[in-house]
Subunit: 771 residues, 2 copies
């Protein structure tokens, strides 16, 4: 991913795009010298401050404080003075600029040629890395070389805490800012090292950041190190000249804890620093490359015929990895660790978009993310109790596990997050066969969420199981009865829990589940209400939905999107207008619950109502469009999902990447064009290519096996690259894959028919691949 010119007006977007992270540490792609910035950002997964959640009118059960991601000590700053002039691209002349996010090496490279206001030309280059192999460590190689004669230069490598950032926006999607959230606990500087330790006032977390350096400069290079409460600095001064650059390797280590003492955390980061210095820069680089080589081997998706899309999907895979690789018991937030959007919260995105992908390409990271949910069972059980429900009620949005939603109709009422978690658990087990996880982690998650559903729903006089007054995925509807998505996912959850306690009676006993309780889950699942409109012959997103007034799309102008910024929720909720795949997502996730005819009719009906004001929508629409035979439309949606951030389609990439949309681009390619479905422990494929593409290949892990699938027009080839023989289904036909015997199968000719239309102006951009 290469940038060849610097545009200050899109700086914040590029900072998100060029962000480096390993799931634990996240560094936005800010310029080394700190300024100008769009939005400075350095994050530690799980490190947050509390802020009060205010309400104009109080209500029982409203969360009183919210968790907000903190911009922690910035360890990536390396400032440069050229003959006393600060290197700042806004002054002097920037002769050339290049940034490369290297998806194979896992580093961000930058080179710039700059002429200072006093006329001294220098070449600056840096390589930045957030280590996958050493989780607590980031590193920077920084080099400055004068281009025309010896020049005095000073390089200041810094740690800066409580950076000033820009004012927050009024847009509800932009994160609330926190001013100076960190309080100094101590600072030390010695030799080439410095450490700053801070704590948060309200959340009571302590963090420490340490830096160490290796300096390689011309003779006479001098150094000075100092530290204060909120800044530490190593200043290196040298007379550099062409061919004799000043070169600095900076290692930065981070650590934080809610439990351990400041000295313990300080020592921990010191040790990490020592280890990084001991390995050395080249080894860190080599380990990074090796980690990524292994990743691409498992995960790469090749798309021939559309190089832009090819790049976007790889970019997406890289960022999914960065979001989840080493989270290890922490959440995967909606923005990963790339920006402060949504306050750094994790949503249902994790389980519904990211984990399903990780389960296929990086199962250990999927398991880690689900373990984070497991670790938050206690606050979820407390929340359920507060809501007068049984089991666990997982939060709509959170960092640490407590509900942080300040608007319950689109927050707490969106109970489907619980079924989404259960679905990810069931899916993970089905795809990996990880029985230890199933026993130690999965079953309890399934049981506690099943208990929630059983208490949330009730049987009506006719014995049907209803779930009333909840909010489904579509955020332009709320508090409705019997949302199909919610009910089908709850059904899966209830059955999954009943199956799990049958597999693990000892866990069931520990959790107090008896045969009656499990039978109650199965009965409720069996009798769950799925609203259907017999006149229109489509499912109702929720009871009554198809009787509501259709949104007046004709008189809605392009400027009035996204609708939530121009119309009150009152108006959106009561009309037929869909922000994002809801019933369509139900069909994709519960493919077994709909006939082919129903899928097609439903898709057409809801397609005409769906405005895609959410980045979560396109990838799901891609998947169902492909399944019901609209390949070109699927291709358009796939491209939209993949280019969400590279093209800044929602105008808020500045606040961080849309990790779920990026994950969705994998799903759009593999689940959509590849037609991959997994239900009940088997894999089926229904690959098809849109005209523009020549070839699609993808890789999957499945129960200890690895598969390579190559799709061309008219033909698919399945290769078992690792593991035991496997039964698969290709376009409805069963086949057996044998090791060492790739299997080629014809692809039936696709139905050619007119795709259904979207609301005026809301069709996805027609994909015309730049060749």
């Amino acid at each position: 991913m290469r940038e060849t010119e610097l545009h200050l007006d899109t700086l914040a977007q590029t900072e998100s795009v060029f962000a480096l992270a390993n799931g634990h540490i996240g560094l936005r792609g800010n310029l080394d010298e700190g300024e100008p910035f769009g939005l400075p950002g350095t994050y530690l997964n799980g490190f947050y401050e509390l802020r009060p959640l205010p309400y104009a009118e109080a209500g029982y059960g409203n969360p009183e404080s919210g968790q907000t991601v903190v911009n922690v000590t910035n360890g990536k700053i390396v400032r440069l003075l050229v003959e006393d002039e600060p290197f700042d691209v806004r002054y002097g002349e920037l002769r050339s600029h290049e940034r490369i996010l290297d998806l194979r090496d896992g580093v961000l490279r930058r080179t710039a040629e700059w002429v200072s206001p006093t006329g001294r030309a220098v070449r600056v280059s840096s390589t930045r890395l957030v280590s996958f192999s050493q989780r607590a460590v980031a590193g920077i190689l920084y080099e400055v070389e004068p281009l025309d004669g010896a020049t005095p230069v000073v390089v200041q490598s810094e740690l800066v805490t409580n950076e000033a950032g820009p004012d927050t926006q009024k847009d509800p999607r932009a994160a609330a800012a926190l001013t100076a959230p960190l309080v100094s606990e101590g600072f030390v500087a010695r030799d080439t090292r410095a450490v700053l330790t801070h704590y948060t006032r309200a959340s009571g977390l302590t963090m420490s950041c340490a830096m160490g350096h290796v300096v390689d400069g011309p003779g006479g290079t001098g150094m000075r190190v100092e530290a204060f409460e909120d800044v530490a600095r190593l200043a290196v001064s040298a007379e550099a000249s062409p061919g004799k650059p000043l070169r600095l390797i900076k290692y930065v280590a981070y650590g934080w804890s809610s439990v351990r003492s400041p000295p313990a955390i300080r020592d921990q980061v010191g040790a990490a620093l020592t280890e990084a210095e001991h390995r050395g820069w080249d080894k860190l680089l080599a380990e990074q490359r090796a980690y990524l080589d292994a990743f691409w081997e498992r995960a790469d998706v090749q798309i021939d015929g559309d190089t832009e899309l090819q790049q976007a999907v790889r970019f997406a895979l890289f960022h999914i990895l960065q979001a989840g690789a080493r989270a290890e018991g922490r959440a995967i937030p909606a923005k990963g660790l790339t920006g402060p959007g949504y306050d750094g919260h994790a949503f249902w995105d994790t389980e519904s978009y990211v984990i399903p992908v990780l389960t296929f390409i990086a199962p250990h990271a999927a398991a880690d993310a689900l373990r984070w949910r497991y670790d938050t069972l206690d606050p979820a059980r407390e929340r359920a109790g507060q809501l007068d429900l049984r089991g666990a009620a997982f939060p709509w949005r959170t960092i640490q596990g407590e509900e942080c939603s300040g608007y319950w109709p689109a927050g707490t009422a969106a109970f489907h997050v619980n079924a989404d978690i259960a679905d990810a658990v069931i899916r993970y087990r089905d795809l990996t066969g990880d029985e230890a996880f199933d026993r130690n982690v999965g079953t309890e998650l399934l049981v506690e969420t099943a208990r929630l559903w059983r208490s949330l729903g009730h049987h009506d006089a006719a014995g049907r199981f209803r779930i009333d007054g909840v909010t489904g995925p579509d955020e332009y509807s709320a508090i409705a009865d019997n949302n199909v998505y919610t009910n089908l996912m709850a059904q899966r959850n209830l059955r999954g829990a009943a199956d799990a306690v049958e597999r693990h009676p000892e866990v069931a006993a520990k959790l107090g589940v008896d045969a009656e309780e499990a039978a109650g889950w199965r009965d409720a699942a069996e009798r769950i209400v799925i609203p259907y409109d017999p006149d229109l012959e489509v499912h109702q997103q929720a009871e009554g939905f198809t009787q509501h007034q259709r949104w007046d799309f004709k008189n809605t102008t392009a400027e009035q999107y996204p609708l939530l910024l121009h119309f009150p929720y009152f108006d959106l909720y009561r009309k037929q207008v869909v922000k994002q795949a809801d019933l369509v997502f139900a069909i994709v996730k519960r493919s077994d619950a709909f006939t082919a005819e129903q899928k097609a009719r439903n898709f057409a009906y809801y397609e005409a109502l769906t405005v895609r004001d959410s980045s979560l929508s396109a990838s799901i629409q891609a998947a169902l469009a492909a399944e019901v035979g609209y390949l070109e439309l699927a291709y358009d949606y796939l491209a939209e999902a993949a280019l969400m951030d590279l093209d800044d389609l929602e105008h808020n990439t500045r606040d961080g990447l849309h990790i779920a949309s990026l994950a969705g681009s994998w799903f759009g390619a593999v689940g959509g064009l590849g037609g991959v479905r997994e239900l009940g422990g088997g894999l089926s494929f229904a690959p098809q290519l849109p005209e523009a593409l020549d070839r699609l290949t993808f890789r999957l892990a499945f129960r200890g096996r690895r598969l390579l699938v190559e799709v061309r027009h008219g033909q698919a080839r399945y290769t078992l690259t690792e593991g035991e023989p496997l039964e698969i289904v290709h376009h409805g036909e069963e086949a057996t894959l044998q090791p060492g015997h790739p299997l080629s199968r014809r692809i039936p000719r696709a139905l050619r028919r007119e795709a259904p239309s979207q609301p005026p102006g809301r069709a996805p951009a027609r994909r015309r691949p730049p060749r």
Copy 2:
């Protein structure tokens, strides 16, 4: 209304009960000496400050600031020093205490005998009045007389601005406090007069308060007057003795404006003061008495057999008069001018509870209150535009006309307020025949609200007119489709508007209403959806309601009421539990839309679900209970409504009286036991008495006539005390009332059957009248 002992723990409640007001000025019944207080309060109708309305998550169309009633300059303070000891009931010995709210004289009288800590006994007496005849004026007669020998006394008559009050509660129903909202604009003191002028920071309102005095003391009485920014003081010192009291008459005048200059307002209050002094105390008292004599002549309700209820209903009538008598273009807030509850806002209470009563007993005040709505048409039209609707959307809660609700599901979504206004307009015209009002005020209100409904609803595929996603009266449900109350009231609104433009084609032309538009209103009204459950044979409060889970009343403890303080709205909304009459109110207001059988079945069904966590419920239940034959239950509910504040049944009378419940007690007696219904321009009666009562009489104004109705067991007597002959209906039989010929009619024997039950623990107290 007499209080014979002072209880400091219920001081705030008694301050509300003993409040004096005339619709323009409101004085809580604070002790003359200012302290101790429960909640000090002095209000000017319409005088407010703005406060920000915060949201944890922003949303388009949420009001950003709210209007809050201001505790203005306190003109009722008269402090006393007895031999340098401040008269304070918390010290020394209070030998006797009496307060009398005199409902005939319209004054609050107080007498106390107090022995100071130094052993000097004095008798203090005061008479306080807020003038009905001179709207801007209040007055106090204050007298202190030593009981055992000459005693030096100092009386300080004060104006105090920005009084400190108690901290606000966390209870969402208690009002938000404003600290020191008034900024000094000027102060003057001369002779026995002083004036303080202030303005509000954000709302930009200016107010002025002036006091003048007549002092009558023993020889050697001295005086000193002074003023500062927030206090003005006349200090009178005298050597009083038994038989030679010190006596002070204090006149207080108030004025405020959003437009006029501070000098103009100061002069205005000065002039009011001069006029009051010119009339003199005795004349003010006499005018007050005359005003009330006339009121009781038109309004009195006599209940023989239950003296407590008799007193409570008269107390209620007095406070309704106080809330509305001289509001003259201002709102009638939910608490009147008796306390800061609900931020001083007016709700649908005004049109649904208070105006219907005023229309029968003080029609000019009803017209005034509706004129206030008319004056707020502009902000209501703006709000409709903001919500993408046509016509006018009146606010759920307001002082000045702008929406001040910070929680839209129970605020803006409660669109029925618009139909309630229309209903009050139609009712006012039907009962008074006031054609000028109909033409100049009523028609535009009907047209703009009809336009709102037409744009809020839509026709479904079957041509039925639906109103989806709105909130009815029951605040334990929200955002539902086709709420019966809302739809029936909207139907009345639409038809009323169509009728009005037929009567006033010139107004229709001015408002741009053509025949097509009016026909559209009639069509929509004709096809409006009224959900009905054919299995249960009851109407559904809203579509789907009867399929929801019933609230688990059995496991809800007495301490968990009111439910809104112990359960989240999420839970309340999705279950069958009713806070207050909703479908039952629909039946009472649209008696024509239900058969007798439906009324009885519906009443029984909803009675079992209604918890009466709102003070707005009992009176409506009383009315329908009586109609469907549960006289004793009606009596219980009537007593609950009437005793709401005297018995502090909701534990928040401290924040002000429940004016709607008080008005409801009239309706419970007249509409319930009297069985009065007015629809389509005629009056019908179906009087019946519960066993405990011997007689009920009430008075009604109707189209220039005045009626007196006397009900005894087995017989009713109708007297036309003024006006032309009138056709009435008595228990279904038509009759003609002639002047000078009272008509007696037998009352059919009431059906005796078991009343339906309420949720456990939520039955009204069984009324056992203290004889």
